[in-house]
């Protein structure tokens, strides 16, 4: 796969430069690191601050979720690699408004280890830190080992809702609990049709036949977990929706928000084909679709593929999901009338 690049190893830094030139009223650097971005108005007085972080190559994940009504800061690693502890510490200090910091990020080994080191360092300096790890990929581990699951596009729900909760002025315990409730009620399943290339590596992350697909893709360029024959849009959507429904143990009458996410190269048209079938499947189970998000909410550069995520809603989650928020990296949304 060809790329529009300068020096492969400057990819992350030059991307950040471009972003700061494009959105100077929206983001600024965290003092002391080239790899941390925070809201232009950080620290935001009276709000618990939420930090995330992760590798480059997933926009709008991770930095695209920083903004009013969303998160407060982000540390940025190389493509698909964890950010450094230094960046995490710098971001934590730049956003902390005295009311504690929530680390809300994807359940990936490198990120966990580095965020844990950062939390130890920041707590030693008197910053209260809590951590919530998003782990929505149903295929990546059985429900009995849900704490091993990885994060995919379900990050969107956690970011949107935790950010809205923080914006209400809730305290760290409440923001953490809300984020954790989203994690426990979010489940995703994805499919990858083609790999991507890490610029500094220069070769695709995996190979896959023209008639194959991988169920359960990761957003870090990993291959999926079950390899199979490429199926139709209807078959794929049916498998994904049924598996997610079963995992969240839905009952007829339950209310959900649906996210159909594209990994990068998959066109919006194909996402709508998947939604069309998912809608039929959900209707068949008597599950009520309250909100719909279709587009690119978590990408893997030029990978082709998609995922379907469900969030089981309650009244508070729905109202937080509908709360205003802004980031130039996200699709538009507004609540249904």
């Amino acid at each position: 796969m060809k790329k529009i690049l300068n020096h492969p190893e400057a990819f992350a830094d030059e991307t950040i430069e471009g972003i700061l030139l494009a959105h100077p009223h929206h983001l600024k650097r965290a003092p002391g690191t080239p790899r941390g971005l925070v809201r232009a108005d950080a620290p935001v007085a009276g709000q618990v601050a939420i930090a995330t972080g992760g590798g480059s190559g997933h926009i709008p994940v991770f930095l695209g979720y920083v903004g009013p009504g969303l998160l407060h800061g982000v540390s940025i690693g190389n493509v698909f690699s964890s950010p450094s502890v230094e960046a995490m510490v710098a971001v934590t200090k730049a956003i902390h408004a005295g009311t504690g910091v929530l680390y809300l990020y994807g359940n990936y080994g490198g990120d966990i280890m580095n965020f844990d080191m950062s939390a130890e360092l920041c707590e030693a300096e008197g910053v209260e830190v809590k951590s919530v790890r998003v782990r929505d990929d149903v295929v990546s581990a059985p429900k009995s080992a849900a704490e091993k699951r990885r994060a995919v596009a379900g990050l969107f729900f956690a970011y949107k809702i935790a950010g809205a909760k923080a914006a209400t002025g809730a305290d760290l315990a409440a923001v953490t609990a809300t984020a954790q409730r989203v994690v426990e009620n979010t489940c995703s399943m994805g499919v990858a049709l083609s790999p991507c290339t890490i610029p500094a590596v220069g070769k695709p992350t995996f190979t896959i036949g023209e008639d194959e697909m991988e169920l359960g893709m990761g957003i870090h360029g990993e291959a999926g977990i079950e390899r199979g024959r490429l199926k139709t849009a209807d078959e794929i959507a049916q498998v994904m929706t049924e598996r997610v429904l079963a995992d969240l143990s839905f009952r007829s009458g339950d209310q959900v928000a649906v996210l159909v996410n594209g990994l990068g190269a998959t066109p919006p048209e194909e996402l709508y084909l998947l939604f069309r079938k998912a809608h039929q499947v959900l209707a068949g189970h008597g599950v009520q679709i309250q909100r719909v998000f279709i587009g690119e909410y978590a990408t893997s550069m030029e990978m082709a593929g998609a995922s379907i995520s469900l969030l089981k809603l309650d009244a508070e989650l729905l109202s937080l999901l509908d709360a205003p928020a802004y980031s130039p990296f996200l699709p538009q949304w507004r609540s249904a009338r």
């Binding site: 490198g110 890490i198 360029g221």
Partner: protein
């Protein structure tokens, strides 16, 4: 042939290590790509470059400080699972070196340092031997160093044995099923595949052993 490693070895040893890992870059990437995300080669390249850039600026630093700062620099530039483990290992190696006021690492010191470092990795990553990680290369290497020391081998000889044991340990990860890191998600597909981190750990020990023999 070196009887001990001192702060003067830090730069040339890391230069050799960087060169050896660079020569294996494609192989490392390929191993990590098989059941992971293929970034381990880049991590090693960026991490070693940062360490090499830093070392010459640390004119006054102690041996303990050199390993500490090189390890943190590695993880700053090559932040990742592997980078965090390297940093954690370096922190523990430095602590052991300082606690024991070591100005040089002779064979017993190397054993102590490597044991502390490996415990640091265990603590950070929560994995145990047999979980198909770099620990499966490190623990056999430590046991081999201890045996070689008992048998009266010199530093270079002991490290050569340890490197061979690490490589055997890395090879022996093939039949195992990954339980940690990205590879854990791949479950049965990891069976038959050599763990990338263990392979790199074995390369590192081989490079150090060759350096000690020079």
């Amino acid at each position: 042939m070196k009887a001990a490693l001192t702060r003067d070895d830090a730069l040339p040893l890391n230069q050799k290590l960087a060169a050896d890992l660079e020569a294996a870059n494609a192989a490392i990437t390929a191993l990590d790509a098989e059941v992971g995300d293929g970034d381990l080669g880049v991590t090693c390249r960026l991490g070693m470059k940062a360490a090499l850039d830093l070392l010459p600026t640390l004119k006054e630093a102690s041996l303990g400080d050199l390993i500490l700062k090189a390890g943190l620099a590695f993880n700053s530039a090559g932040a990742s699972t592997f980078g965090a483990l390297v940093a954690s290992a370096a922190m523990r190696a430095a602590k052991y070196t300082k606690d024991n006021a070591l100005a040089a690492w002779d064979l017993p010191a190397v054993i102590g340092v490597l044991t502390s470092a490996t415990q640091g990795i265990e603590q950070r990553g929560k994995a145990a031997r047999g979980d198909k990680t770099l620990l499966d290369a490190l623990w056999p290497a430590i046991e081999t160093l201890e045996a070689a020391h008992k048998n009266g081998k010199d530093l270079a000889g002991a490290l050569a044995d340890a490197a061979a044991a690490a490589e055997a340990g890395a090879e022996a990860t093939r039949p195992l099923r990954s339980k940690f890191g990205r590879a854990a998600w791949m479950q049965d597909r990891t069976v038959g595949v050599k763990d990338a981190g263990a392979a790199v750990a074995a390369m590192v020990l081989k490079s150090i052993a060759e350096y000690a023999r020079m």
